[in-house]
């Protein structure tokens, strides 16, 4: 067996300091940029207790900041009072503040004040009540798949965790290792699936000319996918574009996919948050379940219950039979156990508490609708503001798109300009989070967009 690959030379003791200096420079062999300061290079200390003067990590490059989360990092550093953060997709109130739902606070209070509550390990599959209730929420309580025990549901770490566990499962047990993702899609999707062991390909989705759906392109690309390939679908409120197929288009997609035995893998991060209706936002998924076919479903409560940091989600696999579902669940456990053993209890308990109590459930739907309505209102106001300024271009996509995000159609130069001159922070693909807007900041944003499109092409 060859030795471990310790990169870099093995310096002798008397070259220790110069070696250290050399290792403090960013590695020229890699392309990643160094974003953190290297002030340590200025004041180099010799560490007399150091036995090994060089690091085995010498050749390691600095990874770039995550492009989405990096926007908030940059925003936080900006001292300007005019700054607006339209980067990460977390809901903000009209006052620009994060929101914890009242019903969530109440549920949490109940849990923490419950003297018989314990913190024992959950089963590998997570909190059983939570799993059942989550499946009912997305598939509908009367769903035949649920009645027939054909759904294997495991609690996972929000949407990301659900996608990763599902991806790993497919890489091990499914005959087709290719997953088709829409172009564009959430930046983390390709990384999740690649690390899960799948090959990632894309299908056409967004049409920049119309700022809408490239439906023909979508159908063509899925038609030419190999039989059995996995296809990632955003259940509603496509991220980053906000462009969703119509119900008719969904039906066509369904028929095409079933005719080619393509395996649907739904990502549902916005149920109830997009239109304000839980059932409406689940229609695409339920359409696929209704035909008796199989699918995977990654569910997140980060946005619709505002439980972002609690990391609550679920992976459901709708199987052809109850027997298969049992076996599938057993294999999901083998994926989870060596990853994190069992999922965190707090967020799932909050969700279960709310979903199982009809009064709390109703309260939740009201607060959820409140958030969705505010976003819809922001869309309308931004559209109106651009109209008032007679900003060149067709901005109707702002009110046609749905969900937290708008794909503005701005290019990366315009985005950079808006950051420089107007302190508006968004991802370089021109995606803005409507949730980060308020009546107060819309005029500023509209001014910035107007300036960007008139000054830069």
């Amino acid at each position: 067996m060859p030795s471990a690959n310790v990169r870099g030379a093995q310096p002798s003791a008397d070259r220790r300091l110069s070696t250290l200096v050399r290792h403090l420079l960013p590695s020229s062999a890699r392309t990643a940029t160094t974003t953190t300061t290297t002030s340590a290079a200025d004041s180099l200390e010799a560490f007399p207790t150091m036995a090994s003067p060089s690091s085995v990590f010498a050749g390691l490059a600095q990874a770039p900041e995550d492009p989405i989360l990096g926007v908030t990092v940059a925003y936080n550093k900006d001292p300007s009072p005019m700054k607006v953060n339209l980067g990460v997709g977390a809901y903000r109130t009209e006052e620009g503040k994060p929101l914890v739902l009242n019903v969530v606070r109440r549920a949490e209070q109940m849990l923490i004040n419950n003297p018989s509550r314990v913190k024992e390990y959950l089963p590998i599959t997570g909190l059983a009540d939570f799993n059942k209730l989550s499946a009912k929420l997305i598939f509908g309580a009367e769903s035949p798949a649920i009645q027939e025990n054909r759904v294997a549901t495991v609690q996972c770490l929000s949407g990301t965790g659900s996608l990763r566990v599902g991806g790993e499962f497919l890489a091990r047990h499914y005959h087709e290792r290719t997953i088709y993702i829409p172009q564009p899609t959430w930046g983390n999707h390709p990384k999740v699936f690649t690390l899960a062991g799948l090959t990632v390909r894309s299908y056409r989705y967004y049409d920049p000319a119309t700022r809408g759906l490239d439906f023909q392109g979508l159908l063509e690309d899925l038609s030419s996918a190999p039989s059995g390939a996995i296809v990632l679908l955003h259940a509603c409120a496509h991220n980053p574009t906000g462009v969703d197929p119509t119900l008719d288009q969904w039906e066509q997609i369904r028929q095409l996919m079933r005719s080619k035995s393509l395996l649907p893998f739904f990502d549902s991060a916005y149920q109830g948050f997009a239109s304000g209706s839980l059932d409406k936002d689940a229609q695409s998924v339920r359409m696929f379940v209704a035909d008796g076919g199989e699918l995977l479903m990654a569910q997140s409560y980060a946005k619709n219950m505002g439980l972002y940091g609690e990391r609550v989600g679920a992976l459901s696999i709708v199987c052809g039979s109850a027997d298969v579902a049992v076996r599938v669940e057993s294999q999901l456990k083998l994926v989870i156990r060596p990853m994190y053993s069992n999922p965190p209890i707090h967020g799932a308990s909050i969700v279960a508490t709310i979903l199982k109590d009809s009064a709390m459930f109703d309260e939740w739907t009201l607060e959820l609708k409140g958030m969705a309505d505010r976003i819809i209102s922001m869309r309308q106001q931004l559209f109106d503001a651009l109209k008032t300024r007679e900003t060149p271009g067709d901005w109707s996509h702002i009110i046609k798109q749905i969900g937290m995000f708008t794909f503005t159609g701005l290019n990366s130069d315009q985005v950079a300009f808006m950051r420089q001159e107007y302190h508006i922070y968004m991802t370089s693909d021109g995606r803005i989070s409507m949730a980060g807007l308020s009546a107060r900041t819309i005029p500023h944003l509209a001014d910035a967009i107007h300036a960007a499109v008139t000054k830069l092409k």
């Binding site: 207790t49 314990v118 047990h173 983390n188 035909d291 199989e294 298969v324 060596p338």
Partner: protein, 415 residues
Amino acid sequence: MMALAVDVSRFEGVPMAPPDPILGVSEAFKADKNDLKLNLGVGAYRTEELQPYVLNVVKKAETLMLEKGENKEYLPIEGLAAFNKATAELLFGADNPVLKQGRVATLQSLSGTGSLRLAAAFIQRYFPEAKVLISSPTWGNHKNIFNDARVPWSEYRYYDPKTVGLDFEGMIADIQAAPDGSFVLLHGCAHNPTGIDPTPEQWEKIADVIQEKKHMPFFDVAYQGFASGSLDEDASSVRLFVERGLEVFVAQSYSKNLGLYAERIGAINVVCSTPEVANRVKSQLKRLARPMYSNPPIHGARIVANVVGDPTMFGEWKQEMEEMAGRIKNVRQKLYDSLSAKDKSGKDWSFILRQIGMFSYTGLNKTQSDNMTDKWHIYMTKDGRISLAGLSLAKCEYLADAIIDSFHNGLGTAK
């Protein structure tokens, strides 16, 4: 009109997976209706009344958090800053030069398992030819973690069945024989499953050979404070290695010592030669965490940060931890006393007193362990490991009877 989908499931060929050997024990225990049943399977602390235990200081912290009414925004990928600071200080000592020099990359992760998995993913990516050496035996999930992360591993001798103690010569020889630059997985204290720890002198010798072979020490610290009752004492092995100026990986868990099992709170720490290296290592660990779960859960991290950050609560925690560790020591003593009194064969049971932590490696084999379950309704893992945390003083005599019977006669009677 809906087109019918598949006739045969795409997953028809998926086989039924075997139950997890450790977590599966609790499931079997639940299903047992016998009054005498005893769960000595999973390592979760129980009170003398055999009830789960939420530390008072944890309840206080949660009440305080409720009053504060903080938001639930995403944490950064690396986790809660206050937690990361607190956890590194707890582990290395607040005054440790490596902290002052900024040489430690710390990421909040999903308890011990999640920390180990992140580190394993990092090893796979940046040290693709390296091997991890794990003790024989070790916690069952270690192998699964490295297998799934596609990191090759091999075993070093550890448990000596003849002495029911440490095979020190074997351990050193195997670490010596491994290729230079291997990763050596070490249990910081309270070795799981055996309960057998090296002495301070032995730790020095282990450090010598690791240093000589330019191996990377990789500590799994799941019981800091829980083993001896002292946070500092239980961290001494880790600190010994760090003191020598070595680069070190350390995975931490707060499942046992703060009773936060289900909150999944821990950290991966990498001590690096320079702060700049630590920054780069941290950035790459983040890059591995993002496609796994994006960012870690807040609740457990806030509990730890609140407890450690407040001197009164910190003092209370230390007190409760001493009590937990103390109860386990008492139970060990009583078990030993019961075994010595009841066993007429003259077998030396003193290894029980020499072992430390939550677990005891009884020396029972699989057939004998099955007898414990089938005949005596005592649930344990098949490697002969019992969790003393699940034992009460009241049950020691019953357990002693069972162990003696299984050891001498264990033929596996059906229920």
